[in-house]
Amino acid sequence: MALPPYVGPIGRTWHYTLRVICGMIFLFLIAPILVIIPLSFNAEPYFTFTQGMLTFDPAAYSLRWYQDFLANPQWMLAIKNSFIVGVSATILASGLGTIAALGLSRSYMPYRTFIMGILISPMIVPLIITAAGMYFFYSKIGLAQTLLGLILAHTALGTPFVVITVTATLVGFDHSLTRAAANLGANPTRTFFKITMPLILPGVISGGLFAFITSFDEVVVVLFLAGFEQRTIPRQMWAGIREQISPTILAVATLLITFSIILMTVLELLRRRNERLRGIRG
């Protein structure tokens, strides 16, 4: 935004003050991430920059915390668990959520608002309440301290995102396409896979990504439902912060940041594809 010529000195000062303030807020937003990446290469077991790091002495940097992480069986188990739970919950949530969204977006659906409210309630209720309720209930039916229990819990937490994104994709959906397919002799299953699915796929995938991130980053329910054998990455980090604080956590954190950048990029690419397909933007 270039300043128009009529702006006086006060306006000019204000314009630059605003930018400085915004710069500081952006710094606040990004600082934690910027600090953690270099510190994960620290050669010393400290959580702060050593003299050597500041003078860019190569000896002050090392990959020891990454080696530590890779050599630790507990972390490896956590990674395995996180992916098993995350992937299973994502598949279940995407399937159930997409089908439900298809039903919800039909005009024949009775009590739509009420049902929508129930379906997205896992997103609204604070996690500590969800965790407390699940702890009692899942213990009763023998699902506590099992991976299956975690998967079911995370599926419930992930479905609202799928329902919301897929319903949003279906808002602009042209129903004459499915009618045309039926008219040309395709049965409902074929119509779904050949016509509907390719069009709503970006919505399904981005909803699925949200569900995956939710599961991958969730720790409160895991704290209550998981035993030692079911520990996930966030649960292991929690233990690391609470019990034996070691810079290995910073190495894991850096890896997770890289991972989230990749996911973010995928999501953005999908959003663009979706907009192009639906002709919102040229």
């Binding site: 306006g11 807020i25 952006f26 606040f28 937003l29 990004i30 600082a31 934690p32 991430i33 600090v35 510190l39 400290y46 959580f47 702060t48 159930l96 959520g97 089908i99 439900a100 039903g103 039909r106 024949y108 659906m109 009775p110 049902i115 929508m116 409210g117 379906l119 309630s121 896992p122 609204i124 604070p126 500590i128 309440i129 969800t130 407390a132 309720g133 699940m134 009692f136 209930f137 819990a153 599926t155 419930a156 479905t159 995102f161 329902v163 919301i164 994104t165 319903t167 991958f216 980053d217 720790v219 409160v220 209550f224 966030p234 980090m237 912060i241 910073l250 940041i257 950048i261 973010m264």
Partner: protein
């Protein structure tokens, strides 16, 4: 052949069914299809999510311990009118059940339950059970009074009778810093035992403060992004979205790294000489730490709705106001600001709802003074094992959230919720 005369006023489809009937059938079929599609998820959520929450809410009023393990005593106490002392049969039944529950190793559960109501009941019960076991025969009333003079007090019996009811409000009363007195009236807890009202107020106050901080920090950057050209604002947007997508625990960890006394910020301050090495600032493991970290974590939830509202505001209005003689401040306050109010409402309620139920960050960086209501729910779930109280605190928190959410739905609309 009988004359079949069609009523000509009814329109029919080709297969001879009246159009009205056919339409009704088709509509019903379509409705069944829609319900059939939604049903699997609905049932899934009902079983894996709604039932557990309902079960927890039930637990907040449920009180099965005494009526399960001391059924005869509770039945015998039914006839006691609550004045003076119960009669000999009640003492005899209690003596019998004290011995059986002690043998069955269930006395501890009863003792714990009664101890929530009145401190000291646990020791009274274990002492009495030990001595009663040696008694061969009655009269039990005198024996009890000899064992401990508390058995001669009406209030001891009143507590047992009240706690024996299978449905209770006592957990909710405790959660609101109230209790039953010896006569069964609801009174406030003594001063030193009142913690929950303060805790609720503190949680509300901290959430409000975090919401205001998020608004103060989010408004300028949302404004900047909405007024800059798309290319630049997209770059800035990454700086908002990257923390949003980064793991919560990663962000909390990095705040610990930044804020702790031997951490990065203190080191920088010492290095440039603002503070001495001796008096490093304590910014974490207290309320300050909770507020800083939570503001950072919730800020994107404020920026995103604000940005999406500001993006739709045409710059022409402000220009028109200025060309009509308004100074920049008036133009902003009278023209621009009112148009952003929907975004402020959406962002603020969202941040407030999320802040009020937050658990992780206060638990990790809050230390002793930075704990919020959810941390106490977790404490009663895992440490004190007073599950009824945890459920009651959870029930109150849930009620608050649902009211706020209803408000959010009224103001923003559930369908307008935007993700990312």
């Amino acid at each position: 052949m009988a004359d079949v005369t069609f009523d000509q006023s009814v329109i029919r489809t080709t297969d001879g069914i009246p159009l009205k009937v056919k339409l009704r059938r088709t509509t019903r079929l379509n409705r069944m299809k829609a319900i059939g599609l939604v049903a699997p998820l609905f049932i899934f959520i009902l079983i894996t999510f709604i039932l557990p929450i309902g079960d927890m809410l039930l637990r907040s009023v449920e009180n099965p311990t005494l009526s399960t393990y001391w059924p005869k005593t509770m039945a015998a106490l039914e006839t006691w009118d609550g004045t003076g002392l119960p009669d000999e049969p009640v003492f005899a039944t209690l003596a019998e059940e004290l011995v059986t529950t002690k043998k069955g190793r269930n006395l501890g559960k009863i003792a714990n339950r009664l101890n929530y109501e009145q401190v000291g009941m646990r020791s009274l019960l274990s002492k009495t059970a030990r001595k009663v076991a040696r008694l061969k025969q009655g009269p039990y009333k005198d024996a009890f009074l000899k064992i401990d003079k508390r058995w001669g007090k009406t209030e001891t019996w009143a507590i047992i009778k009240r706690t024996g009811k299978p449905i209770t409000l006592s957990f909710y009363l405790t959660a609101l810093d109230k209790r039953y007195d010896t006569q069964g009236n609801i009174v406030s807890q003594p001063e030193f035992k009142r913690i929950y009202i303060t805790l609720f107020l503190r949680t509300l106050w901290v959430s409000l403060l975090i919401t205001v901080l998020c608004l103060l920090a989010g408004y300028p950057i949302a404004y900047l992004m909405a007024t800059l050209p798309v290319r630049t604002s997209n770059l800035l947007m990454i700086m908002v979205l990257l923390p949003f997508w980064t793991s919560l625990l990663v962000r909390t960890t990095s705040w610990i790294v930044l804020l702790q006394t031997q951490g990065v910020i203190n080191d920088i301050l010492v290095w440039i000489g603002v503070i001495g090495d001796k008096n490093r600032i304590e910014m974490i493991y207290n309320m300050t730490g909770t507020i800083i970290a939570m503001t950072h974590i919730l800020l994107p939830f404020m920026v995103l709705p604000l940005y999406s509202v500001m993006k739709t505001i045409s710059p022409n209005y402000v220009r028109a106001a200025q060309s009509l003689g308004a100074n920049p401040l008036t133009a902003f306050w009278r023209i621009y600001f009112p148009q952003t109010v929907p975004g402020i409402g959406a962002g603020s309620i969202l941040v407030f709802i999320l802040a009020i139920g937050y658990y992780i960050t206060p638990a990790l960086v809050g230390g002793r003074t930075g704990q919020l209501i959810s941390n106490f729910i977790a404490y009663h779930m895992q440490k004190s094992l007073n599950w009824g109280l945890a459920a009651a605190l959870g029930g109150l928190l849930l009620a608050g959230i649902l009211v706020l959410y209803w408000l959010y739905n009224r103001i923003v609309g559930i369908d307008n919720m935007k993700l990312g």
